[in-house]
């Protein structure tokens, strides 16, 4: 082997990885990690810590659902490109192959002094490190006239599963020429292109089953993710079907009436045949209960996703206020691996490598018309900071768009294997 100067400097830098102070368990045997939330952040973190520590760390995953329906690709279910079964995942492999203690229960509180998590079913689970990855909850009162009791009439369908099935059934039951209304969320929210991919998938369904139907989006945001790509796609595939009312035309001044199935947009009352209300969002409630939120989100240190309030709690994914990364399953999965490496290092003295993050979001506009946006990120003192990125271009040829869609199918299989084993 020959060493040149560049190689030597690089190797020295790679070797200078951080070694965190080791916190071995005292009287209670192995160090214990408790993960709350079994989605893209939590399931990935639990799996990596269990896999890489090879039995040195006890990992407990607390997740109420026995089947996890991914929010990513739920729009493709609405559009008829996936079955609901194809986006459902079990925790069986995490338990059987990785030795993770999977507890199907709700975490109802965190005692930070005693370092334990309370369960709805009774009992407490002690931890040396706690990882919270609870996804989103909704900001009460953010859409006038809507609350959680309205979610049967006007589903949010922004957590995967029964809400998604309900919304799809309501779209398929729309009378001929009826109007689908979406109330789009304000920033920041889970999956920035999600509402607009959903509109695309609703249009795809209606174009076949109900071609005179209309779609109206009430949107408080001046701009949205991949806007040029979506708007060009809507014009090409669904001409005249979709109208977006932005803040310049009163799109932020919305009141819904779920009992009457009407939506008032800046004084104009629309009868909705189906209505999808996606409210403003905040960190999953357990983050509030743990006392690690400031405002709607939980601020974290970029280097290891540890809470800025409590260094023995880490917050992943949608719930974290981390800087520049979008709230996405890909981001949560990426953050989970950085966190897992750091937590394992802190508890067992294993090598801790520099944080690095990436994200890509694919969206489907119509059959074989996929687009994507992605970026890489690094940890700074202040936040997770964007380094570099790419985005699909308007006017790409059909072969490129088809390849992008097919790539998203490969990604789905890979990330769900990365999460659930």
């Amino acid at each position: 082997m020959s060493f040149n100067r560049r190689a030597f400097i690089g190797t020295a830098a790679a070797a200078a990885t951080l070694r965190a102070p080791m916190v071995r368990a005292g009287s209670h045997g192995k160090p214990r990690v408790v993960v709350v939330g079994g989605g893209a952040g939590g399931a990935t973190a639990a799996r990596y810590i269990a896999k890489d520590s090879a039995g040195e760390i006890d990992v407990t995953l607390i997740e109420p659902s026995r089947s996890y329906y991914t929010c990513f690709f739920s729009n493709l279910y609405i559009g008829g490109f996936r079955t609901i079964e194809s986006i459902a995942h079990s925790y069986g492999t995490l338990a059987s192959d990785y030795g993770i203690n999977v507890v199907h229960d709700w975490a109802t509180g965190v005692d930070r002094a005693a370092k334990s998590v309370a369960l709805a079913g009774g009992g407490r689970v002690p931890y040396d490190r706690l990882i919270l990855s609870p996804g989103i909850d909704f900001v009460a009162g953010s859409v006038a006239g809507w609350d959680l009791t309205s979610q049967n009439a006007m589903p949010h369908a922004y957590k995967g599963g029964s809400q998604t099935e309900l919304l799809k059934a309501q779209i398929l039951a729309m009378p001929e020429g009826g109007t689908f209304v979406m109330v789009a969320p304000p920033n920041p929210y889970r999956c920035p292109p999600g509402p607009y991919e959903r509109v695309s998938m609703v249009a795809h369904v209606l174009k076949q089953s109900n071609p005179t139907a209309k779609i109206i989006i009430a949107d408080s945001k001046a701009n949205f993710s991949k806007q040029g790509l979506f708007e060009a796609g809507w014009e090409a595939h669904y001409p005249g079907m979709i109208t977006r009312i932005g803040p310049d035309f009163g799109g932020e001044n919305v009141t819904v009436n779920p009992a009457e199935m009407t939506v008032d947009i800046d004084g104009e009352v629309i009868e909705a045949a189906a209505c999808n209300v996606i409210p403003a969002q905040k960190a999953g409630h357990i983050a509030d209960l743990a006392g690690v939120t400031e405002g709607n989100w939980a601020p974290v240190n970029a280097v290891d996703m540890s809470s800025k309030v409590d260094p023995e709690i880490h917050v992943l994914g949608d719930s974290a206020a981390q800087g520049d990364m979008p709230k996405s399953g890909f981001s949560a999965n990426s953050q989970a691996k950085v966190c897992a490496n750091a937590v394992r290092g802190a508890l067992t003295g294993s090598r801790v490598f520099p944080a690095r993050f990436s994200n890509t979001c694919w969206s489907l506009i119509d059959a074989d018309d996929g687009v994507k946006v992605g970026a890489t990120y690094e940890a700074t003192e202040e936040k997770i900071a964007r380094i570099d990125g790419f985005v699909s271009q308007t006017g790409e040829d059909a072969a490129t768009r088809k390849a992008t869609y097919e790539e998203s199918l490969g990604w789905y299989d890979a990330i769900t294997s990365d999460m659930f084993g």
């Binding site: 690089g10 830098a13 890489t376 490969g410 990604w411």
Partner: protein, 114 residues
């Protein structure tokens, strides 16, 4: 009995075919990376960024990347980093990998059975 080409053989053939078009400068750069003894433990950590999209078994649109000979792996990543190979996501990911990190990834993935 006719034997179907193994994916690995195809991948290697593609790499070698492409390698014929590299400049002397690129050949030197690839040689420098191959001269580095990769740190497989660091490579395993770095590989977690790959596995979000690349399954061990591969898919129609995203290839498997386990079990490649180190040289083929280095040639491919160097190609994306230099822009010779076109794929926006791979150019972005490879673009921030140092030579040592490419060597670490090649060392790690090379240890895995395809």
């Amino acid at each position: 009995m006719p034997v179907a080409p193994r994916p690995l053989t195809v991948a290697l053939a593609l790499c070698l075919g492409w390698a014929a078009a590299v400049t002397a400068e690129e050949e030197t750069e690839i040689g420098e990376i191959l001269a580095i003894e990769g740190d497989p433990e660091y490579g395993e950590y770095l590989s977690s960024e790959c596995t979000t999209c690349h399954q061990a078994s591969g898919s129609d649109a995203i290839p498997a990347i386990v079990g490649w000979p180190q040289e083929a792996f280095v040639v491919a990543l160097h190609g994306y980093k230099s822009g010779q190979r076109s794929h926006p996501a791979m150019q972005m990911i490879a673009g921030r990998l140092s030579d040592e990190e490419i060597a670490a990834l090649a060392a790690y993935f090379g240890t895995l059975a395809p």
